[in-house]
């Protein structure tokens, strides 16, 4: 299964020679491509997503806090106003009426009725003198004459002039509270107007709040006792489970936990001049629910994007690297073709030389045959016998010459296959020079071959050596003008190498070109049919034999090639046939 997805380049192993091998390590290009592209595309995306996640979450949280804070603040104002309104009404009564008038039960009753109608929630009214005795009372219970002097609230209203009580059930068994105001009469005297107010309206105010997140709005006193019913924090006059929040003159929103570990948003405000604390408690989880959905979508989108990016990167990289691989394979193949063409060109060059060389002995044979015929037709047999024998000998000698030439050519053509065998370098050099001998003769080029005596036979490829030397000698001949000198030296180089130097006194190679002469397609003779491959192929062949080739040159003085060849060449497998796994 995996095999079918594996791109072609994956298991490609390069073992060819310099010119014919691939220029790239495809697996490394592929892995580097994938890693780097992924890094630069995935990391910023993740960073951006995380940043966005944090910013959004923070803004949602602060939005929740802000909204809670606003709600608490508004509600506090409403409740404050509610209390202030009722206190002001009582204040107005005591300011507007004299003590005597208020002590009239009928008048007080009328006021209670008016209060009930205009404000609502008032249950009873009472006038208490400075000794704490109830002087006058209108309401559903008979509390006339009751003594409040020992009660805490009486002390407070005496001290502070106004008093708002906690919610309590009292006789009526209905939660209510007491508002009392003090009024001064004469020198140091005072009385107190005391009203009972039902908390029904409180409840309604709180109940009508629109609270999100399964919120709960209620009032507690400073001891944490619930003053209004709550949805999930206990009933009226029960102690709430949450701790009593710390005093703060402003509206405060904090986060807290229930005993179950549930996260809560708690907004509270102390209501001034009252024992009440307004609390609005919301469940954070419920508030954050829409955000959790968004978050899920965000991460889902991120995940899908990442997967998509990775898939695209993998596909694109694989495709591109495979394209490079295929293109490079084409390049290698065409180089093989060109190399072959180059070989054929040198064979063609040889053929021209060979044809010319064979022509001379053929001409001799032709003339000798003609002479024999002449002798047989013109003169007397006996007299010409010696000449005939001489002519026939000359024919045989010429045939030998032709045979030597054809053998040399055959010898050259036979060793095209890759085979490592013991060869005598000097013989090969001379054999190759044999093809160029005539040209050298005509152009008066002096050829000197010198081989040190300790040169052993080396194990190498005969055909490749022939091609190497033919290319180099051809180049030298092209570089030299008539009357030049070509010197070939063969010496030992250390224990394991033989060094062949090919030196001509031709035109030389400019310094700037020296570094590039072994590059494929580098040529200064492209206009006169040079392919720029001769030396690059030579370079490749020398390396295939495990050797090395270097060059030095002086303009107008000549060029010297150094070919270092190992005594033993390890046979290499051809690049196109090897496909080792994991190598």
């Amino acid at each position: 299964m995996i095999e079918s997805f594996k791109p072609k380049f994956w298991e490609h192993v390069d073992s060819g020679a310099q010119v014919t091998r691939h220029m790239f390590n495809f697996r490394r290009i592929w892995s580097h491509g994938v890693i780097w592209t992924s890094m630069v595309s995935i990391l910023p995306l993740i960073a951006l997503a995380l940043a966005d996640y944090n910013v959004t979450q923070q803004s949602i949280e602060s939005e929740i806090l802000l909204r809670t804070s606003r709600l608490v603040s508004n509600t506090r104002r409403t409740l404050s106003f509610f209390l202030v309104e009722r206190r002001a009404a009582l204040d107005f009564i005591v300011q507007d009426n004299r003590f005597e008038a208020l002590n009239s039960e009928s008048r007080l009753n009328r006021m209670l009725t008016n209060l009930k109608e205009s404000f609502g929630g008032f249950a009873d009214l009472g006038i208490i003198d400075q000794n704490g005795r109830q002087n006058t009372y209108v309401g559903p219970y008979n509390l006339l004459g009751k003594d409040y002097s020992q009660q805490e609230w009486f002390q407070k209203v005496c001290d502070q002039g106004v008093y708002i009580s906690d919610v309590f059930k009292g006789y009526r068994n209905v939660p209510h509270m007491v508002i009392a105001v003090r009024s001064m009469i004469g020198e140091g005297g005072f009385y107190i107007l005391r009203a009972t107010v039902a908390i029904e309206q409180f409840n309604q105010i709180l109940a009508h709040l629109e609270i999100t997140g399964q919120g709960d709005a209620f009032i507690v006193n400073h001891k944490g006792v619930l003053q209004t019913p709550s949805r999930s924090h206990g009933n009226v006059l029960e102690k709430m489970a949450l701790p009593v929040p710390l005093y703060d003159p402003n509206t405060v929103v904090v986060e807290g936990d229930t005993d179950d570990g549930e996260r809560l948003i708690i907004g509270y405000a102390y209501i001034e001049q009252s024992p009440f604390i307004l609390m609005i408690v919301k469940q954070k989880e419920a508030l954050m629910a829409p955000w959790y959905i968004t978050r899920k979508e965000l991460f889902g989108f991120l995940g899908v994007s990442l997967a998509l990016i990775v898939v695209v990167i993998l596909c694109m990289t694989t495709y591109l690297v495979n394209s490079i691989f295929l293109a490079d394979q084409k390049r290698v193949m065409s180089l093989h073709h060109i190399e072959y063409a180059n070989k054929m060109a040198s064979v063609g060059r040889l053929a021209a030389g060979v044809a010319h060389e064979i022509n001379n002995p053929l001409a001799i044979i032709n003339e000798k045959a003609g002479l024999i015929k002449d002798l047989l037709s013109f003169g007397s047999e006996v007299k010409n016998k010696q000449k005939l024998i001489g002519s026939i000998d000359a024919v045989s000698a010429s045939v030998d010459r032709c045979a030597a030439i054809t053998h040399r050519l055959l010898n050259f053509a036979r060793h095209v296959d890759v085979t490592i065998q013991p060869v005598n370098l000097e013989d090969i050099v001379r054999e190759v020079l044999g093809f160029l001998g005539k040209e050298a003769e005509y152009r008066c080029i002096e050829i000197i071959v010198s081989a040190a005596e300790d040169i052993p036979k080396i194990e190498s490829d005969r055909g490749k050596l022939q091609q190497i030397f033919l290319n180099l000698f051809n180049n030298a001949f092209a570089a030299m003008s008539d009357g030049g000198r070509l010197q070939i030296d063969i010496t030992r180089k250390g224990e394991t190498y033989v060094l062949v130097t090919v030196e001509d006194n031709g035109c030389g190679i400019p310094e700037s070109d020296l570094k590039r002469i072994f590059d494929p397609f580098f040529s200064t003779k492209t206009k006169v049919g040079g392919t720029g491959l001769g030396l690059s192929i030579t370079y490749g062949l020398v390396h295939e034999l495990g050797g090395d080739i270097t060059v030095s040159s002086v303009i107008e003085h000549g060029t010297k090639f150094y070919i270092k060849l190992p005594l033993v060449t390890k046979e290499k497998k051809n690049a196109s046939h090897s496909c080792l796994i994991g190598g």
Partner: protein, 127 residues
């Protein structure tokens, strides 16, 4: 009528000697040399009517030799032989001796004889 004197110059000894002998058999007076130096050293050089030269010879080409001989013996006619059929050589030889008198080895003796006679009766080598 005196026999036609023919000078053959080619670096292939067996070839020139044989051609010379065969021309002798056909009534010519043929002599041969294998090197340019020896040819130029001959004192009887201008006694030849026609020179048959190999285009490619070591050190000096047949064309250069022709220039030298022509300078010395203006009356001399020339025929070129070559073992090499390259275009550049052919053009040079044909320009120097005329297309008719440029022969590619191996040559047929009758053709050579024919060419010699034509060259002498004609303006051979004087294009």
């Amino acid at each position: 009528m005196r026999p036609i004197r023919v000078l053959l110059v080619d670096d292939e000894l067996e070839l020139v000697s044989t051609i010379a002998e065969r021309l002798d058999l056909r009534g010519f007076e043929a002599e041969w040399e294998t090197s340019v130096d020896k040819t130029m050293q001959r004192t009887d050089i201008c006694t030849f009517d026609i020179a048959i030269l190999d285009i490619k010879m070591p050190k000096i080409s047949g064309l250069a030799l022709k220039e030298k001989l022509e300078a010395k013996c203006p009356h001399m006619k020339f025929i070129f032989l070559t073992g090499h059929g390259s275009g550049a050589d052919f053009e040079k030889g044909a320009a120097a001796a005329g297309e008719m008198f440029y022969l590619v080895k191996p040559i047929h003796i009758d053709v050579l004889v024919d060419k010699i006679q034509k060259a002498l009766s004609d303006q051979g080598g004087k294009v």
